[in-house]
Symmetry: C2
Subunit: 846 residues, 2 copies
């Protein structure tokens, strides 16, 4: 867990100041050594010209302000318009990506078939071709992803869930990841393994949105730099991802809401709908333009009869199917986690796999493709069909067998794969379900970009078809008693099963909508809804969703949900979980103290209190603000200023004329109050700015290091650090979030998840007494929710219970409140150290 | 607006204490007068026996505690199960209500037809029958509603929106309202006026949920008394309402989310889905059992061809249809509001209508039914069809006319209504659209329970049909160029138009899903989505939604949305809008001060500060808590205690023996600390308890009034009021919501709407400086959002702008912060009184 704590804080901590001084020191020594070797002057000149050039580049950063404000006004006026344009662009790009990828995947699969078909003279060669092809593709995918961006591995939905929660996982939204994900996914899906593209598509769409934002920001400036807006756009992007993957705009929006959000702002609704619709539209239009289809229709169009889709008396069968799918979904999630945990726990396997990262995917692929080899075992489980072909066959509206005897069904070209001369269709279906079940669970643990939705959907469809065919045999003329005969439609069961199983695995209800959009028919709405709800009820009571399971496996910094009703049970308060050792700065802090605080703390912002005695919270300051204050104080401008004055005082005009003019020019260029001003106006573009300025400072300091004795600089630095901080022009948030000690865990959780907070200060009558961050909250909650089905009671709560009765803790003891405020606070019952340890233990065990 | 402020606070303000003393005084005088007339003793005895009986009834209120805690545990364990049962019951009841109501409506309409048909010999009689029938029904509906519960008038969605926002509108969820709404709605719809049932059904379902909660609470005790839970249930109920009205579970859930929520908790999702599905299922199953249908299918099943639902080149037509519907929707909302406002402004009309409330609905009905009289003007606008029949005809998949010549279409029995021998189908359609448009806008302003969704849906379908028929004439063989001929399906246009117009009026996207579920076909998904999104884009930029419009007309206490992008524009801070004159109590307050504060304030809770000097906020106390403290201090127990001691001190044992034992027995029965204890443990059941105790106290005080001189009591009361309040055992919320003065309006708005707050305290370094309630926030926001299309700038913001520049206000001036804290606060720029007036004016004008 510690790794994530540092990841959250890693950017600010080792970003600017720390690295700056360290590098400076190293470089200074190197340069001094080189200087002693001679040839310094020429070098200085070249350094000067480059630094001057760089300074030219960022001359007068305040000039931006005017641009900013006028732009801001334009921004406000045109914001809605910009949104539309952005969403259209996003939809367009994603539709193109989706379409091209589909084409590439189809091509890959065709190539395999062609190879396999061409070699039908020799079984061994055929087997080698059948097996080698996916192994090569998967290995390439795994290797490529590993080298370019390991963040592209897996589904991406857990990560998006975490990012939308407000936690910054920067590496997950880079161009490298985009390339790795798209190419890796194409290869992985092209291999024909039981992998899906829905989850990765959510990630790809988010990547697209993030990159598009960046691109447009570079093109049009500040318009695309609002962080709140980016979150809104990311959440729209998730909808686009699902939408253009299945050409299911409504289902896409709903699925992305269910999967990624805890609280959903209804005003963002239209964004998702608009982008997903546009994207799905373009995606399908491309197919029409390419002459693949005559017009825009559903991806897996079904042709069930409309007038009598199902009998009322079939509903119990649908309900049983739903419940069975619920158990199946829970089993899938459990199996998937079990495999990952087994691999991790077996130390020898783990070590081996860590060294040879490509062995695992290659081995898994080898086993799976061997088992599906059509002339071998594959003939009993329709091994030669791709996912798409299998699904089309499973959703067919005609019955495969009747009266126990397999019918001849050759109307669809690839339906014969299901019919084996010696073996019943039922055996084929059961084998297909069982084999695909574990294969999918194993395949999704491979380190390639892949999702589990589509394989699960397929298994569900097969299971539904199995139930449907059974029903068709049991009631050959349909159930309906009076009058006309309506035979049972096994395809309808397949639709219901697909929705129910995928709903159970992902804990969503919107899979129902996705199947309607996917099949283009809504006639089975009631059976689908009933099955999906029952499947969800069963699965949710047994296991977390697949995505939550992955979040726990990957230990992503996501705030878990409070269990139903649990929050009333445990009366944990903020004072039990808060960190009492808060990093703060006071109004009279010196720069040295600021430096120390910056070195040690991890949170994005720091508390500003009145004084160490009063501890009254005045506000919070962003880390970057303090860093810029510090670098301003120790920065090259003031440093040069000091040096020049020092030189003038000593009357030593011994430097070369060139160096002197250089100093003067630098001085006039870089006017003192500019850096914080830049920070005020364009604080989202910090990174690029600071890196440029960093370069300048670096070069300038090289120049001065060469010209001056090192000791003098060090002395000056020490002196500067002892000065009190000047907080003028520093952006202070005067209203950081505050809780009081007795705020309940439940309330804290609600506030954190509703407002997407990272941390909140705990105050007691205005005095800062602690801080609670996501990490503490997560710890406290994870003690109280089910981890693997076993409920763990948070030790702190039980401790609390033994001390107080429930009724007493409800009534606030005023005298305590009073005494605490008066400073005569009662000796707080100290939490025994073993209790604290236990909490950590519970957390680590997981 | 003031009326709502007082309504919010009305319950606590005039509830317990005020009335108690007043009644006591009056009764005491009467009793004293009667005593003087003689016959006192017998009366006293009877009083004693009744009071003893009542005391017996609530003897040992703390005994409940054990029950409570054991129940609570059960509650936690079984909560989820209870939810399921509750939702099933709700779904069942609503399905039955919906089905019975549909039957009754169909019967009413059939009766009218039969009457009308039976009198075809005499035109005048026929006309009278045609007109009288709806006039009587509507007048009855209006009168019945008016007498039983005026809250049942109208749609109910605006009220539900307000209630789900957290504002208590108690009268809207009573049994009376339920009866009034159900019967009123049945009559209103049975009359055949262009009215809908969707909105009222949302209200009816919520009423059902509230009553069911109450009923189950009475049956099983505390399990159903959680307020948070009730809100969750209400939001599920809204989904049920829509779901069982249209048999559209998914669309129902989404529509109710879009219409009623600002932020939606995804964990409540399943509740809505489950209840709506169950309810829709039962609703449709009832139809099957009743032999109306063979199996469960869609309500308005369409039979469009599946293989080629529409041509890609038809999409521009669909888009134009969507945009036109957007304008139409905005016009409808505008027209509806215009009618209401006209009626209000015309003082003479207004006065007349207020006196004769039934004249307006009767007149409107008369006009509308006259115009639709089939042998009269109605023949040109299919006047004889009910809404249901019209919609079935409009959604038909065959073309009505081809090549400009009206075809013979007699395949559906009521399609001939559209075909007039002399008049083109187009003329009929246009007349239908235009007439129904204003008729619906007028009819929905009648004071009967009615919605506007269905009429708008119908108009949209007619408009779509018009466009579709036009397209069919323009492209008689379809647009598709190569190969097979696919004629245009005008029914598809009708579906698209219906979804787009109803989407535009309600500002929702989920009408798309509703039409899919209503027609049972999803093949037109892309055209529908495109049209709905375009219609929404147009309508949202022109007018508020119909429900928001009604909220403004009715001046319901709803927090409006911040306009898009507006929030960045106006830098209003909490300090600009907060109320500085906060009602608070201090730790050293006397009971008299508490009494005064209770008399004057309006908010549900009161701030507790350390002292008037320091003003440090310690917490907040609920009004009811203070009231119980006060009544405990002045209550009968202490009063009797005092009297007895007083009597003993004076050594006057002159009372009758009976009265003395009476006092003793009372004393032993009612042990001192019990009343606050009751409050602590069962504070949700306050009202019933207090009323019972109120009775007891009342009787007891009668007894003491009779036995003692009045002046002595008054003196004692004064003395008691001067004592400092004892806050022990008083429930204090130690963490009320706090903002600081510089919290922006945007942040405040977000927090209020996310957390459903009623008010928040404003503190400055722990000191209470003000309070912001919903009312202030609403005022501030309404200054900045469009009211009737004209943007009104909030005067405070403009004032602010002139003083500061934007950049300055971004950077917090630390010295101000510092000075303010130090108590040397800068003289705050006083808001000129005319500015304040202006704000009020803006608010009142609306």
């Amino acid at each position: 867990d510690g790794s994530f704590g540092s990841r959250e804080g890693s950017l600010p901590r080792d970003c600017m100041y720390g690295r700056y001084t360290q590098e400076l020191g190293v470089y200074a020594k190197e340069e001094a050594a080189r200087l002693r070797d001679g040839g310094g002057l020429r070098r200085v000149t070249s350094v000067r010209s480059r630094s001057a050039e760089l300074l030219e580049y960022e001359k007068d950063p305040c000039a931006k302000c005017h641009v900013c404000t006028s732009r801001c006004q334009k921004f406000l006026i045109s914001r809605v318009g910009e949104d539309w344009i952005f969403l259209i662009l996003l939809g367009l790009v994603m539709a193109l990506v989706s379409w091209v990828m589909d084409y590439a995947i189809a091509f890959c699969q065709q190539a395999q078939k062609w190879m396999y078909g061409g070699l039908d003279s020799n079984m061994l060669l055929q087997y080698l071709a059948w097996v080698t092809y996916p192994v090569v593709l998967i290995t390439f995918s795994a290797g490529f992803t590993q080298i370019l961006s390991p963040q592209a591995v897996g589904s991406g939905i857990p990560e998006m869930k975490t990012i939308l929660r407000g936690v910054v996982l920067k590496e997950y939204l880079t161009f490298k990841t985009f390339v790795a994900k798209v190419i890796g996914l194409t290869c992985a899906l092209g291999s024909g393994m039981p992998l899906g593209k829905e989850g990765p598509f959510v990630h790809v769409a988010s990547l697209c949105a993030a990159l598009l934002s960046k691109f447009l920001a570079a093109l049009f400036g500040g318009l695309y730099k609002n962080e709140l807006r980016n979150t809104e756009m990311l959440s729209a992007a998730c909808a686009v991802g699902v939408g253009c993957c299945f050409a299911a705009p409504i289902g896409g929006v709903l699925f992305s809401i269910e999967v990624t959000s805890t609280f959903f702002a209804v005003r963002n609704y239209w964004r998702g709908f608009f982008a997903a619709t546009f994207s799905a539209f373009i995606f399908r239009v491309l197919a029409v333009w390419n002459q693949d289809e005559e017009t825009i229709t559903a991806l897996f169009k079904t042709r069930f009869r409309l007038d009598f889709p199902f009998d009322l008396q079939e509903l119990p069968a649908f309900a049983i199917l739903g419940i069975a799918c619920g158990f199946g979904g829970a089993l899938f999630v459990y199996l998937n986690r079990l495999i990952v945990e087994c691999m991790r726990k077996q130390k020898t396997i783990n070590k081996f796999l860590l060294r040879k990262r490509l062995v695992y995917p290659a081995m898994v692929t080898l086993i799976i493709s061997t088992l599906t080899f059509p002339p071998g075992f594959g003939q009993f489980m329709a091994g030669q069909l791709t996912q798409h072909e299998s699904l089309v066959a499973l959703l067919d509206n005609r019955t495969w067998c009747r009266q126990g005897v397999a019918e001849e069904f050759d109307y669809i070209s690839h339906s014969h794969a299901w019919k084996h001369p010696q073996v019943n269709v039922f055996i084929t279906l059961i084998l297909f379900i069982v084999m695909k079940f574990w294969m999918s669970a194993v395949a999704t643990t491979m380190p390639v970009p892949c999702g589990a939705f589509m394989p699960v959907f397929l298994i569900g469809a097969a299971f539904g078809r199995l139930v449907g065919e059974t029903m068709a045999i049991m009631f050959p003329d349909g159930i309906h008693a009076d009058g006309s005969v309506y035979p049972i439609v096994p395809g309808g069961y397949a639709v219901v099963g697909a929705a129910a199983l995928s709903g159970a695995v992902t804990h969503t209800v919107s899979t129902a909508v996705i199947v309607f959009e996917l099949t283009g028919q809504i006639s089975h709405i009631l059976p689908v809804m009933i099955a999906v709800i029952l499947a969800n009820a069963v699965a949710q009571s047994l296991q977390p969703s697949l995505y939550d399971s992955i979040i726990r496996i990957k230990k992503l910094p996501y705030l878990p949900e409070l269990g139903m009703g649990h929050h009333e049970k445990y009366n944990i308060r903020v004072e039990d979980i808060m960190v009492r050792d808060v990093r703060y700065i006071t109004l009279s802090s010196s720069y040295r103290e600021v430096q120390e605080v910056l070195m040690t703390g991890q949170l994005k912002t720091l508390a500003l209190v009145e004084s160490t005695d009063s501890m009254i919270l005045l506000g919070s300051i962003e880390r970057s603000q303090l860093q810029s204050l510090l670098s301003l104080q120790l920065g090259p401008t003031r440093r040069l200023d000091h040096l020049r004055r020092h030189a003038q005082d000593n009357g030593t005009h011994t430097h070369t004329l060139g160096a002197h003019t250089h100093l003067t020019s630098l001085d006039t260029m870089d006017s003192p109050p500019s850096p914080p001003c830049t920070h005020t106006h364009s604080y989202t573009s910090n990174s690029s700015n600071t890196s440029a300025r960093h370069g300048v400072r670096f070069l300038v300091s090289v120049a001065e290091v060469i010209l001056n004795p090192l000791s003098q600089i060090a002395e000056w630095e020490e002196q500067q650090l002892d000065e009190p901080v000047d907080f003028n022009n520093c952006k202070i948030d005067p209203a950081p979030f505050q809780l009081v000690e007795r705020t309940s865990l439940h309330k804290t959780h609600t506030i954190f998840s509703l407002l997407g907070l990272d941390h909140a200060y705990v105050t007691s009558t205005g005095r800062l007494v602690g801080v609670v961050s996501l990490r503490e909250l997560r710890k406290a909650i994870e003690g109280s929710v089910t981890v693997t089905g076993v409920k763990v009671r948070p030790p702190l709560a039980s401790f609390r219970d033994s001390g107080n009765t429930t009724s007493v803790s409800e009534v606030t003891e005023l005298h305590k409140l009073w005494n605490r405020h008066r400073g005569l606070s009662l000796p707080r019952e100290p939490t025994p150290p073993d209790m604290e340890d236990q909490l950590d233990l519970v957390f680590l065990c997981e």
